[in-house]
Amino acid sequence: MSRALGISLPAPLRHFFSLFPLYTHPEIESPDKARPLTSPTLWIHVPWSPDADVLSSDVECLKWQAYLALRGLSDIAVRWDIAVDGALDARLPNLHVLLKTLPGASDEVKAQDDGEGELLPAHLIPEWVDGQVGALDELEGYVDEAARDESRAWVALLEGNVHAALVLNQPSPSSLLSLLSPYQHKARPLEAVLPHPPAPLFGISSLLPPYGTHVDVDAIELQYRDAIASLSERLGTDKWFLGSSSPTALDALVFAYLHCILHSKDHTLRFEVTRRVNLVAWERRVQSQVRSGFRLVPVLPSS
């Protein structure tokens, strides 16, 4: 090509460049090798008891786990050894799928699958699930249009009032090591969850730049109690929320929040839910169904 262009490196330079590289280091053997993907794997936060459980301790991850299980998928592997910074957008959960299961992939792409797979962020999971088990109709599994509209309101209630109470009662890192560690799990800040922005710590008109939040704890706890009371009232003795005949996305969300509340360290949060027998019984029943859809990825010994 250089001949065709009429330009070529002068001989002394070519001789000089051929001296490099001076020394090539030998290949470093790393114990971390990516294993070829055999089944869809969900990357989540670590569960409360890693030996005994596959359900994550984070509400977002648990919500998607419940969604996958309740849509009817099974035999999905789970792993929690990935740090948060390694996920797409630094937000877990992510779903690692085989190329041949991607709904939008062309046939050539599916043919050259070498086990690497494709990593999907959380908002693309419903599309993938539709490709696996068939798309939902317009009613999204609810009884009628009114129930679907009502489900939007329940989603807003859970992601607002209940989530705010959970965030407020998150256990703060206790040991010095966890404070210094760079891999911290930053949950969604409280300002993004509350509908009205909380006041800064020193007041909005002070000379200091706005820092911190002055949270109205009483208001949040009052709204949380109202939310749980109305949730229990609406469930009544139904099998699935809003009287649906099969589980819906709202059921996955409610299950995720109830499970996290029941495992939180705060007495007041837990007590509100344990007082309501129908919620506890419902959560227990759904728990076994959700757990059956997942299995742990066995950790291979490093060679």
Binding site: R152, S205, D216
Partner: protein, 391 residues
């Protein structure tokens, strides 16, 4: 006139509602403030008073609207509703609903507050034209001199987290200004066509997304309203009607230079606009029915510039769980340990002082110091001796 209407049942304590001041002919600049005002007007008409307050720092929780009743204070629409509901002579707006409908109402109120509130905040604080032409001048007119320079931009940035999470924050980090065509020797220099296409495409896409969100929300409530004057077919407005109408009122009453959401509302959902009018005519047929406004003046706006940490409210003060025996036992143990620690430290200090003087006194005594010396001088010499020994 407002005092004459106050019911004797409330006694000397009156319910005082503090809201954002009015702007133009709007009742108040903030949707939750309007909603709280309407709610009070429907439940305890004539038994409350209004104060216009543009300083959120006056509120115990830092947020407006807030309500003071004697020594009680509550802030935020949800808490105000729960508090007023429990007052003795308040009308119950949701009396016609059974328990399932009341549960649905709670969820729907939360949905309206979060989704509709986000859209209104987007209109007021995120769209640049609205911010510079409507919101910022309004806030500046409400605030006194030092605060009007820096508080509006702080208020705007406080909405950033929430709107970013909802993908409704379209404020560019650096504001690009159109370049003036440069003049060279009196003639306008031709400049290359600015590359505006990607910007225009991106902002058009963003506006489309906002319109989709607006339609999704309004479709839900349009279907819920159907043909009835109020939601859930009730005869009188319920809490859901109050909060929805308050948001619609704020949207339709302000003249926005960039009417993104308002145009969708007025063109496609006339029933929702009619619903807002119906709620207002039911609650406030006549503006003069509102109690007279107590205008609070900023006595010393400089005082609020001093940073003073807000004392966080005691976490378990108002909870009924504080009576549980387990919690009491734990608290008692902690109290025991705490006072034990203080007592032991005081005892140890006293014992040290006592024994240190005695221990060093004894060798001094054997050196032949006369026993008749007053103890103060003895102690003084002992102290010097002590220092010498330590060195």
């Amino acid at each position: 006139m407002s005092k004459a209407n106050l019911s004797p049942l409330l006694g000397h304590r009156t319910v005082n509602l503090h809201i954002w001041p009015s702007h133009g002919h709007l009742l108040s600049f903030d949707a939750s403030s309007v909603a709280a005002l309407l709610y009070l007007q429907l439940t305890i008409p004539g038994q409350f008073s209004i104060s216009y307050c543009a300083n959120p720092d006056l509120s115990p929780s830092g947020q407006l609207p807030f309500l003071m009743h004697g020594l009680h204070h509550v802030s935020g629409f949800g808490s105000i509703v729960s508090y007023v509901r429990k007052l003795a002579n308040a009308n119950n707006l949701d009396i016609g609903l059974n328990s399932v409908q009341a549960a649905q109402l709670t969820a729907r109120v939360a949905h309206v507050e979060s989704a509709y509130g986000d859209l209104i905040n987007h209109m007021l604080y995120s769209l640049q034209e609205n911010w510079s032409a409507v919101t910022r001048p309004a806030l500046v007119s409400m605030l006194p001199v030092p605060q009007c320079y820096y508080v509006p931009s702080r208020i705007r940035s406080s909405y950033k987290h929430r709107l970013e999470a909802a993908e409704l924050w379209h404020v560019p980090e650096v504001e690009d200004e159109l370049e003036e065509p440069s003049r060279v020797l009196g003639r306008k220099k031709k400049r290359a066509q600015p590359d505006n296409e990607p910007h225009k495409f991106k902002s058009a896409l963003e506006r489309e997304k906002v319109v989709e969100k607006v339609r999704a929300l309004f479709d839900v409530y349009d279907r819920l309203l159907y043909d009835a004057p109020f939601f859930t077919g009730a005869e009188r407005p319920t809490t859901l009607d109050v909060i929805f109408a308050a948001h619609t009122y704020v949207l339709t009453s302000i003249q926005f230079p960039d009417p993104l959401v308002v145009s969708v509302l007025k063109e496609t959902y006339p029933r929702l606009v009619a619903h807002c009018d119906a709620v207002f005519s039911s609650a406030l047929p006549d503006r003069s029915l509102l109690p007279a406004v107590v205008q609070k003046s900023w006595t010393s706006s400089l005082r609020y510039m001093l940073p003073w940490p807000r004392t966080p409210a005691p976490r378990r003060a108002s909870l009924s769980m504080s009576g549980s025996p387990e919690a009491n036992k734990i608290e008692w143990r902690y109290k025991l340990w705490r006072w034990g620690f203080f007592g032991a430290s005081v005892l140890a200090a006293a014992a040290y002082l006592h024994f240190a003087t005695i221990i060093v006194l004894i060798p001094q005594g054997s050196n032949g110091v006369p026993a008749g010396l007053p103890p103060a001088e003895l102690v003084g010499r002992v102290e010097d001796g002590d220092d010498g020994e330590e060195e």
